[in-house]
Structures are given as structure tokens and as C-alpha cells.
């Protein structure tokens, strides 16, 4: 921490950096919690939807069905620093659906239509396949079902999308209903400071 900076100022500085990779909302809501407060966090290295090597398995949607908060306090987040900005994103499209007249998959993957796809940069209008695309998750629509997370996981994608506890939505249950149900022990408790550090170093809570 820089000399003369309070803990909160330092965290705020770091949160602005995390915003650039799509994790800013999580970071800012963590800062607003009291010092030393214990929060629940989701370890995406354990969650079956994002854990490397868990391929060909069903998507787990217990974060949606078990949370006491309507629509769940868990939402999907896209870490833009890892996203490949693919022409055909396997988290956005159902890549096994039939091809439509424009040569793209005819179905989207998200059941709540929470992801938008926008062409970025210097477009190649004659060759749309030769462009980069940005995928943004609308958290107000997302319910943390995990489908896009599983779709983006390596080797299908680059694993840039993961589930995260939204600390503005989480009511900090003493006994988190998701933690009780999670088959992978992916829900753990940590102090605000530990959760923030984890966000900075591993990109997830």
C-alpha cells in the first residue's frame, strides 16, 4: 500500500483497475462493507461450471435455485482481460444449434437473454468472421444459472466468464443456502480484506 493512502483509498484505486476487466462492481461493493466483516465468496476454481478439467458434465444451477435472494445473489461476470472476443462465442451462442442463413448458430445459450454481442474495433464489413466481438453481461437480467460459464470454459472457450457473489445483493446469511447445497464446496467465508485480495490476485470471489 502506498504511504499516505488509507486502506479504503487503496482498495478504491485497485477497484478502478478491476473495473477495466469487468470485476469492478464486485470490488466496489466489497469496499462498502465494514472492515473485518465476513462475506461469502465463490471459488471458481472449485465450482464445476468453471473448474478446469470438468468437461462433458452437466451445468450446476444450484446457485440460482438455492439462494434466498430472489433471482440469486450470484451473477455471471466476464473478465475482459481473458476474453478472446470470438466471432462465435460458445457462451453467447448455443454452438450445437442449427446454422441460420447468416452462417451463425440459430440459438443463444442464455435463457434470460442477458448477454449482448457487439462488434468492436475496425470492422471488416466484407468478412464478418474476421472481426472481434465484445460480450457484455447485463447483471440485472442474469440469475447465475451458470450456462454461459460452462460454455466459456476451456477447451471450448477461454474461461473468461465465471460466477461471483454480488455483495450488494447478498444478505450475508449466517448459513449460506448455496454453501449448504454446493456439491463442490465452492462457497467459503472470508473477511472483506481477504475477499478483496483474492479478487485482485485470482480475479474472483
Amino acid at each position: 500500500m502506498s504511504e499516505g493512502l488509507t486502506r479504503r483509498e487503496a482498495m478504491g484505486h485497485a477497484a478502478r483497475g478491476l473495473a477495466a476487466i469487468g470485476l469492478g462492481v464486485t470490488a466496489f461493493h466489497l469496499i462498502r462493507k465494514a472492515d473485518g466483516q465476513i462475506v461469502w465468496q465463490l471459488d471458481h476454481g472449485r465450482c464445476v461450471n468453471s473448474r478446469l478439467g470438468a468437461v462433458g458434465v452437466n451445468t450446476c444451477n444450484l446457485c440460482t435455485s438455492e439462494c434466498v435472494v430472489a433471482q440469486s445473489a450470484v451473477r455471471a461476470v466476464n473478465d475482459f482481460s481473458k476474453c478472446g472476443r470470438c466471432y462465435i462465442c460458445p457462451a453467447y451462442y448455443n454452438v450445437t444449434s442449427a446454422v441460420d442463413e447468416s452462417g451463425l448458430p440459430s440459438e443463444k445459450l442464455c435463457p434470460r437473454d442477458a448477454i449482448t454481442r457487439t462488434m468492436i474495433g475496425d470492422a471488416d464489413p466484407e468478412d464478418p468472421a474476421n472481426n472481434f466481438y465484445e460480450y457484455v453481461i447485463d447483471e440485472t437480467k442474469c440469475d447465475g444459472c451458470g450456462k454461459c460459464v460452462m460454455g466459456c470454459k476451456e477447451p471450448a472457450g477461454l474461461g473468461s466468464i465465471r460466477l461471483a457473489v454480488r455483495h450488494d445483493l447478498c444478505v450475508d446469511c449466517n448459513r449460506c443456502a448455496i454453501a449448504m447445497a454446493c456439491p463442490d464446496d465452492a462457497f467459503t467465508q472470508a473477511s472483506v480484506e481477504e475477499a478483496f485480495e483474492r479478487l485482485e490476485t485470482k480475479g474472483g470471489t
Binding site: L52, G53, V55, G56, G84, R85, C86, Y87, I88, C89, P90, V95, T96, S97, A98, V99, G103, L104, P105, D122, A123, D124, D127, A129, N130, N131, F132, E154, P155, A156, G157, L158
Partner: protein, 292 residues
Amino acid sequence: MKYRLIRTISGRGQEPGQFTEMLRGIAVDTDGRVFAVGDTAVRVFQADGSLLRTWSTSSPGYCIAVARNGHVYVGLAGQIEIYEGNGTLIGAWRDEQHLGLVTAIGFADTSVLAADANARCIRRLDPSGKLLNTIGDDNRRSGFLIPNGVIDFAVDRKGVIHTANPGCHRVERFAIDGTRLGHFGRFDGQDPSGFPGCCNPTNVAVDDRGRIFVTEKAGPRAKVYDSDGTLLSVVADSQFELACKNMDLAVDSQGQVYVVDTVKLQILVFAPQAEPVAAGNTAAPSEGDESR
């Protein structure tokens, strides 16, 4: 045409002929010897899969190729190392700028071609390693779209370069001066003649007849197309671990296809099988029959 698995070579483990962490590249020479690079080692196998020799590379190897004179080229981060067939190091071309991450090497005319995955293009070098020109960077995205992190290509007998452009779901063809000669391929997650997922095919090989072999990830699959891009056969799919990606492949002079399982760190060898003669179609072909 159908293929069947006839042999496996190497695997994950501590034995001299095995790899512990990575098996990234393979090549087959004209005598059917199999050259594999992974971890920080080259391992050479006889055609029957027995280990012939092994030597160390200076850092992790990403690809391997055997030149007509028997010299072995290994691509690494920032350089290419050149060895005699017995493993003696005879040269190294260091160039962080133009050989940032060398994930494929090939030969055309007197040139050495090297894919630089960092710059998303192919470098053409002269026999001393001097840069002659760059291939594939003359589009609006300044190179190949490789979310999978590697560029793979193969050179056919006429010197045409066939390159996987996985983000565009196609195989693109180039002359060695960089001229684009065309492409084939399209996205399709249902029809096996298309390329599925976000980014396929990932790897390419070409045989003496100009047929183009590719591998795909998620789900892992090897396929063969004729030279105009018509699917001839799915070589293999269910034999690979589901988490495989960037599975390098090679074809030998007998049409046997060698594919890396990047999870098991094993080379799977597939041989073409003669088509069974259909019942009721056993009569000797008459004069003018197309099959003759």
C-alpha cells in the same frame, strides 16, 4: 474411408519415452520415425513406437519439424533451435520480435516458415534464419484469429501453405510470398463438414496427395478433406480425452495419421481401412467401370 486406431506412442509419466506436463508438437520423417516435442525435451520413436533417442531443449518446445536433410527444427518462445537427427545442437535463431512464440514450422523451396503466435502471422526465413517476408498479416485484423493461442500450418508438395484460422472457422491457403490463394471452411456445430465451436480447426497437416487433415477441440476430433475442401472422413473422435485442445497431427507416406492427445500426452496412430465391399456388389467391374 474409415480409420482405425492401430497404436499409441508415449504417454504421461516418468519413463524415458513419456512426457510429464506437455506434449505439444509431432512430426514424422520419410522413414516413419516419429519426433515429439514437449516439456523441455525431444523424443524420437521408431515407427513401431519404441523410443529411439531423446534430448533436451533449452526451454519448453511448442512445435517440431524435420527438414529434407534430416535436420530437426524446434520452435520455442523467441527462437528456433536446429539439431542434427542425433540430437546435436547445430544452431539457434533468436529473434524475440519476429519469432515471439513459434508454434509451427515448415519448409518450402529453400525457405523455412515459422508461425509466430504472438504476432498472429507466419514468418518466411532464408536458410540462415534471415527474415524474408511475413504471411497472413495483411488483413483488417492484422493476422490470424487464434483465441486458442497457437497457429498451425502445413506445406503441400507444390509449396502452398495451408493454415488454420480457427477464429474464422477455415483453412486458408497462401503462396510463400504471402499471396492469398483462397480458403475453405465455415462454422457448423452439427454438420461434420463444418468447423464447430468458437475456434476450429486448430491444427493442420497435408499428405503427399494434397489431402488436408485437421484437428478440432471441444469435442476433440480429427478429419480429412480433399484438396478442394470436401470432407472425406472423420478420422477419429471418441478416442480422445474431452479436454484436449491444440492437438498437433502428422501424416506419413502410408497415409497413417498421428494425433496428439494433449491430456494423456500420447500420440494416437490411425490407419486407413479398406472399405468393405458392399453385399451384392461383388461382381468383377465391367469395362468402363469408374472404379477401375
